[in-house]
């Protein structure tokens, strides 16, 4: 297991945004997370990545307790994450956005290799033509690919993507998914992906987890998720699931 949480809990005042969630992610898998709005998915990410200290519970990364590490230290351990709201370093061009990840992530200190590494990432994600573009006037898809590139540039072993495909067209979803698969396959990076559209998540994930009201509802085989009575009841609004989109 590359990542494991034990009884992870976060309360904001009286609200238990994440309530006693324990799960594990295997090395090399694509692990999907779904759940209604406000279920606690982003809060879970924030705890794992060191942005929020958990109220209780523990986080282990490659058997090491990282519960209390700060966000930048978590990154240098090998965990990269993207944010639900996509925003770049707006005064920097695409190249420098990626350079931040390469310079301060796990490659930090290895100055000679960094330029080649950045070019490798740019090449891998097909960003060559946008290399010296300003990072503010990009379209949504390119913005998200740049943010993905910056995260990959940290040389992470675990990549956590928070609803990366929100607002995409079907074609953009397809090409983003193929990037995610390529990242797992060719870079050997474990991926956790939060996604609203259940079909897509079932399609891309090796295993998946559904959370609702901060609690774990389902953990396991994506193919069987629509057969789970509790998932159908809570997440799919009680009706028999016939495919199609859930928003």
């Amino acid at each position: 297991m590359i990542l494991e949480t034990q009884g992870l809990t976060k309360t904001f005042g009286k609200l238990a945004a994440v309530n006693n969630i324990s799960f594990g992610v295997d090395e090399g898998e694509i692990f999907g997370i779904a759940g209604p709005n406000g279920a606690g998915k982003s809060t879970l990410f924030n705890m794992v990545a060191g942005f929020y200290p958990p109220t209780s519970g523990k986080v282990f990364f490659r058997q090491e307790d990282i519960t209390h590490l700060s966000a930048d230290k978590t990154c240098r351990k090998g965990i990269a994450r993207t944010f639900q709201i996509p925003s770049t370093f707006h005064t920097l061009d695409v190249y420098d956005n990626i350079r931040i990840g390469a310079t301060f992530g796990r490659m930090a200190g290895d100055h000679r290799k960094i330029d080649d590494w950045i070019d490798e990432i740019i090449d891998f994600l097909g960003l060559d033509d946008k290399k010296h573009h300003s990072s503010v006037n990009l379209d949504l898809y390119s913005t998200k690919v740049v943010l993905l590139a910056a995260a990959l540039a940290t040389d992470c072993r675990l990549l956590m993507l928070d609803e990366p495909m929100a607002g995409f067209t079907m074609a953009e979803i397809e090409s983003y998914l193929s990037l995610v698969r390529k990242i797992r396959k060719e870079m050997n990076i474990t991926v956790i992906i939060i996604e609203h559209l259940l079909d897509i998540l079932i399609d891309v994930s090796d295993r998946m987890m559904i959370i609702n009201n901060g609690e774990l509802l389902y953990l396991g085989d994506p193919e069987k998720v629509t057969e789970d009575r509790r998932v159908v009841e809570v997440y799919l609004g009680g009706k028999d699931y016939k495919g199609g989109h859930n928003v």
Partner: protein, 331 residues
């Protein structure tokens, strides 16, 4: 086009620099040398201040205080202990750096935006009180006078070249810093703190670093100030110098390398020129700043860049037109 622009700017810079270097030799009046010395010192203060407020987006209102610490430190060491200014000026800068890192860098780690501004303001504001409480060493409200010059017998011309050299070295150091990984981290944290930390940038380390560097450089400027002018008192910490420093950054172009320098030039020479206007001086300067910021939020640097682009485009159009004319005549 970009290449052309670069050469033009380089030429302008080289000519300006040459004139500044030759100026004292061309029979400049001592008073004018004095003004230039003030400009060099203010350019250092504004440039080091800009590291916090412009490059890092941390609103410091304390840099005049940092400068005063460096100035007092160097003055006391030179005057009371008779140490060489070669040692006292760096020591003054280091004292400023240590105090600011401890009393501002660390406490502001938990703060954001306006609260940082408040804390830095309080820091600078307690200095005059502290100075009057330590009269025996600092001269209290009267301040320190007859502070030793850079070296025995140093005159205005010497001061001019020493401050010019210090200013150029400092500007170069700041330029290198901005281009370095450290500068990249400052900008990253300014643009998006969450994204930066998610990519491994340490907010803790960079915050301390920028306070330390900015205080060191402002403190050094304070050293050059006291040994050029010969005195310092709590009035250095009054509201006017404070506002001037802010004005220089905003007017010239905050967050750019040359903006604060340009701002310092305009404010130092401009306020001298405006001495004729007497009490209206600050009002006119204030008005000038408001108008500039209104039209060019990026300060005069932005205005110049627009002007440069405009000239490039006009040049292009002219060439375009002549091509068109040829085509027409061929018809």
């Amino acid at each position: 086009m970009k290449k052309l622009n670069l050469t033009r700017n380089t030429v302008i810079l080289a000519v300006v620099l040459l004139l500044i270097v030759l100026y004292p030799l061309l029979g400049a009046k001592p008073y004018h040398l004095h003004l230039f010395i003030l400009f060099f010192i203010w350019a250092m203060v504004a440039s080091s201040w800009n590291l916090l407020n412009g490059i890092s987006g941390i609103n410091s209102l304390g840099n005049i205080g940092f400068m005063a610490i460096g100035g007092y430190g160097s003055a006391i060491l030179a005057k009371t202990f008779g140490l060489s200014t070669l040692i006292t000026i760096p020591l003054g800068g280091i004292i400023a750096m240590v105090l600011v890192t401890l009393f501002l860098g660390l406490p502001t780690l938990r703060l954001k935006g306006v609260y940082i501004a408040l804390l830095t303001l309080i820091f600078a504001d307690t200095l005059p009180t502290l100075l009057t409480q330590t009269r025996a060493v600092t001269g209290g409200a009267v301040g320190l006078h007859e502070i030793p010059p850079f070296f025995a017998g140093a005159g205005k011309i010497h001061n001019y070249y020493i401050c010019l050299a210090a200013f150029l070295v400092m500007l170069y150091v700041i330029h290198r810093l901005i281009k370095s990984n450290t500068g990249l981290a400052f900008v990253a944290l300014r643009d998006s703190e969450n994204l930066a930390t998610s990519l491994g940038v340490s907010r803790f380390r960079e915050r301390l670093k920028v306070f330390a560097i900015s205080a060191l450089l402002s403190g050094l400027a304070g050293g050059f100030y006291v040994h050029s002018l010969g005195d310092i008192s709590p009035t250095t910490l009054a509201i006017e110098p404070f506002l001037m420093g802010i004005a220089m950054m905003e007017l010239g172009g905050i967050g750019t390398l040359f903006g604060p320098v340009l701002g310092a030039a305009i404010i130092v020479f401009g306020s001298e020129f405006l001495r004729l206007a007497d009490v209206l001086r600050m009002t006119i300067l204030g008005g000038l700043i408001c108008v500039t910021i209104l039209f060019f939020p990026g300060g005069l640097m932005q205005a110049f860049r627009k002007l440069g682009n405009l000239m490039d485009r006009r040049g292009k159009r002219k060439r375009g037109e002549s091509v068109q004319a040829k085509v027409q005549s061929a018809d």
